[in-house]
Every structure is written in C-alpha cells, then in structure tokens.
Amino acid sequence: MEQINVVLGVIGSDCHAVGNKILERYFSAEGFSVTNLGVMVSQDEFIDAAIETGAEAILVSSLYGHAEIDCEGFRDRCLERGLDHVVLYLGGNLVVGKTDQTAVEQKFLDMGFDRVFSGSHNELTDQAQLLRDDIMASRNGKRHRAG
C-alpha cells in the first residue's frame, strides 16, 4: 500500500495524552504514516509538521473544552500557509459542558473541519476508512464537506 502521511496532535493547552497515544497506534496499525506531535500543539506547529512531512491530513484532538477558542481560524491558517487540500479532522470533548452533539459538530464543520467526532466514547471503528476515502477525494479535488 502506498504511504499516506498524516499529522496527529492535541491542540492548545490541552494535556490529555491517553486518547492521543491510542489514536497514534490505531492509525499506524491501519497503515498510515503518523507524525504524532503529542499534546499541547499550536495551529502553526500542526501546519509546520504537515508541510514538512507532506501530510495529506491533520488529525486534531481537543478534550479539555477549549476547542472553540483553539480551533478558530485553523482552516484559514492552512490556506494562508499554502495547505490547500489538507483534510482536517477533529475529535474529542469539543465544548465546555454537556451539549447537543449534532449542534457541536455543525459548529466545527462550519469552521472548516471535514469531519468532526464529538462525545468522548468515540470507538475507533471506521475512522481510518473514512480518512482514506476523504484523502482520495481530496486528491481528486473533491474535498469532502459533511453537513
């Protein structure tokens, strides 16, 4: 299988490391070449790493509730820095407090993320397959935008 590079990390001042370690293992086992930046990653660090590794997707986690603030303008920043076709995924506990998950996901889709996985007990089932499909679509210029 051809190598697909992706960048993984936890955004902002967020220190939640457990899910990140499991995600690294999952996407690696599924055949992706994963650059894991760990916790407390800024937007620019994500983008730097994506440029450096030629990543086709950035997988962002946010657990601690500050995603609304931390993720603001991420898509624009990618575009600014020339990452036109990168697939952006976001997952975790995305807002402060228990909220309707669909509304939450829509909020981040509107921000420019391609897929959003909210709620904590996100079983890792078909995410790798979705990612592969989305990256293929993106290569063909059809970037997936759910919602």
């Binding site: 457990v18 601690y64 407090g97």
Partner: protein, 478 residues
C-alpha cells in the same frame, strides 16, 4: 537544591513573580495574614480536616470552576450544602500561565453568557476576586488546578484567602505539561511551599495537597505513592504543616483499600525518618479518574463505587466525580447529584468495621516493598538532595508514570490489570523493583493471559483503558 529556600533570593524572585501580571500588585502579605487570622474556623481547611480525622468520617469535595466571579460564587453556593470542602478549579490557560488567553476567555464568556473556560481564572480576577469567593461561602475552599509554574497563582490565591492548595512539582508537571523541565517545576513548587511556610509561620494555616492520581489511567499505587511521599517531604522542608496525600481509585477493592492504608503509614515513616514530627497528615481518595461511561446511570454506578471504597479505605476526604464526566464540565445539578450519590454510598458503609481479609494485608505488604525499592533508589540518586534525587529518578526511569505527556517522563512502563482487576506492571521499564516483585507481577499477568487465552499485549492495555467506560473493570476480549 533540596533545602529551605534562601530568604533573600526568595524575596527578589517574588518581585519578578508579582510583576508578571497586573493583579500581582494586589498582594500585600501583612494584610493577607490579617485576613487569614480573621477567618472563622469553619472556613479553615486544616481545622475541618482535623475534625474528620478525629471523628473518622470522610469529607466530600467536588470539582468546580467557571470563568466569571459571580457565576462561580453562585455555583459554589449551590454546591455548598452537599459539600464539606469546596473547590475552585482553575482553567487550563491559567495553568499554562497564559493569562492573556484567559482574559479572552473571560471576555467571550461575558458576551456568550456561558463559561467558555474550563475553570476559574484566579490570576486574572486577582486578590479581590478571590476574596469575594471566600467571603461568600461558609466552608473551606481549595484551589485545584494543574499548573507547573504556580508561583503567581499561589501568591494571589493565598492572599485571596484560600486555605488549601493542591499540586506539586512532580504531580503538576508530569501529567499536565509537555516540555517543562522537572528541575524547573520542582523549584517553582518549592517557591509555593516556601510561601505556604511563611503563612504558617505567621499563624495562617494552609493545607497542601499533592495531586495523587497523576495521569489517572492505570497508575500502579507504588508509582503514585512514591511521588506523594517525595512531594510531602519537599513541602515539609519549606515549612508546610498540613498535608493531604492522595491516591486515585484503581478499581480493585483489595488493592485500593491496601493502597490507602499503607499511604499514610509509609508517609509517616519517611517523614519521621527525615526528622519531621510537627505536621498534620490526612489522605484523599479520588473517585475513578480514567475514562467514564457516557450513560449517566452507569456513571452513577462508578461514582457510587468510588464512594463505597473511599469509606472502606478510611480516606479523610474524597474527590467526587459527576454523572456528566464523560461528556463535559458538569452542570451544577449534575455536580450536586454526584455529591448526593457519594454521600449516600459512604454513609451506607460507614458503620462497617474495617475488612479483615488476608489478601488486603498481602497487598499492603506488596505496595510497601515496592515503594521501599523506589524510595531507596530516589534517596540514593539524590545523595542528600531529595529534589535532585527526584529529577534523576525520572531521568533514569526509576519513577515512570504511565500515559503521561511530559517528555521528562520515561514513558516505558506499561500497566495492565491482573485477573482480579488489580493494576500490575506489564512492562516495568527501568523501575528498580526487586526480582521477587517483578516475578509476582509477571505471574499475575500470565495468569490473566491464560484465562483469556491470549498473550498479554498493548491491545490488552488498551482494552483495560476503555473497560470502565464500556461497563466493566477488566478489558476482556469479547
């Protein structure tokens, strides 16, 4: 570096600290001492802890913190009735000293009319903001956070009238930070403890609580106990007098009771060995700190079990989770519900005489031997300087916290549950445990692997991480 800080150096350092954000200028020590001395007994944490120690009851404490002062007071007032001790949980920006980000969070919260911060930004609200909290409430309030460099936060919080303060140079670095050198965080927490010591010297009692659960995820008791004892010693050395050592529920009844029973015994032993006699020591049990089930009904079961074990293990206080744990910061009602369920659980088993099982005694012995191995090595590495010993111990992987984000943590140790659900060491990394202890862990894990007809592996570890959130303690294959 392991000595009471030099007064002159400390005074110089203070200036810089207090200048690092405008609210620092609000701190006036003499005025703060007077404020503390004027506090009624019911608001002083160590007094309440002593009552609990004497009466052998478990005190309940929730977690809670929101962006704005008034809203935070409303929240704590609501929780006060069902709590014995109150918290003020600090937001994640403040924990990283990002006071400008916190300011943005405050402003956006004011606009949005809901808290966009995951805690209370005490530095930004300053001494006056803190005072209004202490004045509005009738019970002791503690700062709970996760701040590697908490010097300014401590200055403001203590001057603000808080009588209890969580954290430590190891426990607020390893699980909470990524690139902070351990020397630095330990040094910055010596500052914190030194400041507490100054308050103590002026007759103002400030309880200090190292953060027991660390990464909250399958942490073997010997690891967290070793950290707790080191942080306790480092605090005593700076003049701290009231200490609460913590432990996060691992899930197996026998192991949890044993761990709590030896925590106090071991700590007292080391403290006395190092010449400390004039201190108050209590313990805190954290209800399950790992991933929770999403269903509130299931979360209630996890919370209730935590309450039961807190009581059976003789904790002085218990930190209470809420039925919203898996989902997000709880509403005040969900927070209160966690307290109600916990108190009911505690009081239903409070009358039971201590369990007298052989297996608990055996587990106590095991943990004692393990901690003895680790502490011996730390003390040796330090060669008379415990702080240096701790730094070297982490470098060498002598202490190694599973699933921690900090780069100064070796991260080689892998825990996994045995067939009874007790947390054992699958990969012991470089921890200097004796060969019989290593064999014991190996055998226990082999026994489970055999029962499950599979090899012990990282997959088994992952299964254990998910297990409670999926409804059981041990992650068995399905």
């Amino acid at each position: 570096m392991n000595t009471g800080l030099d007064t002159q150096k400390f005074t110089e350092e203070r200036k810089t600290v207090l200048q690092s954000w405008p609210t620092g200028s609000e701190v006036d020590l003499e005025e703060a001492f007077a404020f503390h001395q004027s506090l009624p007994k019911k608001k002083v944490c160590s007094i309440r802890l002593q009552e609990a120690l004497d009466q052998q009851v478990v005190l309940l404490q929730p977690r809670a913190g929101v962006a704005l002062v008034d809203e935070h007071i409303r929240l704590l007032s609501f929780l006060q009735e069902e709590s014995d001790l109150l918290p003020t949980t600090i937001d994640a920006y403040t924990r990283q000293n990002k006071y400008a980000d916190a300011q943005k969070g405050i402003e956006r919260s004011e606009q949005a009319q809901r808290s966009l911060l995951n805690g209370f930004p005490a530095v930004n609200h300053g001494v006056h903001g803190c005072r209004s909290i202490i004045e509005a409430l009738d019970k002791p309030v503690e700062i709970r956070h996760g701040t590697p460099d908490a010097r300014l936060l401590t200055e403001i919080a203590l001057a603000g009238g808080f009588t209890s303060y969580e954290g430590g140079g190891i426990s607020y670095n390893i699980p909470y930070a990524k690139n902070v050198p351990l020397e630095k965080s330990i040094r910055d927490w010596q500052y914190v403890d030194h400041l507490v010591g100054i308050y103590e010297a002026h007759g103002c009692s400030i309880n200090r609580e190292p953060f027991g659960p660390l990464s909250g995820t399958l942490v073997p008791p010997c690891v967290s106990h070793t950290v707790a004892i080191i942080e306790g010693l480092l605090a005593l050395e700076q003049g701290v007098k009231s200490l609460t050592l913590g432990y996060g529920q691992a899930g197996n009844l026998v192991q949890d009771i044993a761990a709590m029973r030896v925590l106090k015994k071991l700590a007292d032993g080391y403290f006395r060995q190092m010449g400390y006699t004039d201190y108050q020591l209590s313990t805190v049990f954290h209800q399950w700190m790992g991933g929770f089930p999403e269903s509130e009904a299931q979360a209630f079961a996890v919370i209730s079990w935590g309450g039961v074990v807190a009581s059976l293990s003789g904790a002085t206080k218990v930190i209470v989770k809420t039925p919203h744990e898996a989902l997000g910061i709880p509403t005040k009602e969900a927070n209160r519900d966690g307290l109600l369920a916990t108190r009911q659980s505690i009081q239903m088993v409070a009358d039971l005489s201590p369990l007298d099982t052989l297996r608990i005694s055996e587990e106590e012995e095991l943990i004692t031997s393990e901690v003895t191995c680790l502490m011996r090595s730390v003390i040796e590495l330090g060669a008379g300087d415990l702080a240096a010993g701790a730094v070297r111990a982490f470098e060498a992987g002598v202490i190694d916290v599973p699933f921690a984000p900090a780069v100064c943590n070796a991260g080689k140790v892998l825990p996994v549950r045995d067939n009874d659900g007790a947390v054992r060491l699958f990969d012991t990394g470089s921890m200097p445990l004796s060969s019989d202890i290593l064999a014991y862990h190996r055998d226990k894990i082999a026994h489970r692997a055999k029962q499950e007809k599979r090899e012990a592996s990282f997959q088994m570890v992952i299964d254990d991480i998910y297990a409670i959130s999926k409804g059981r303690l041990v992650g068995r294959p399905t």
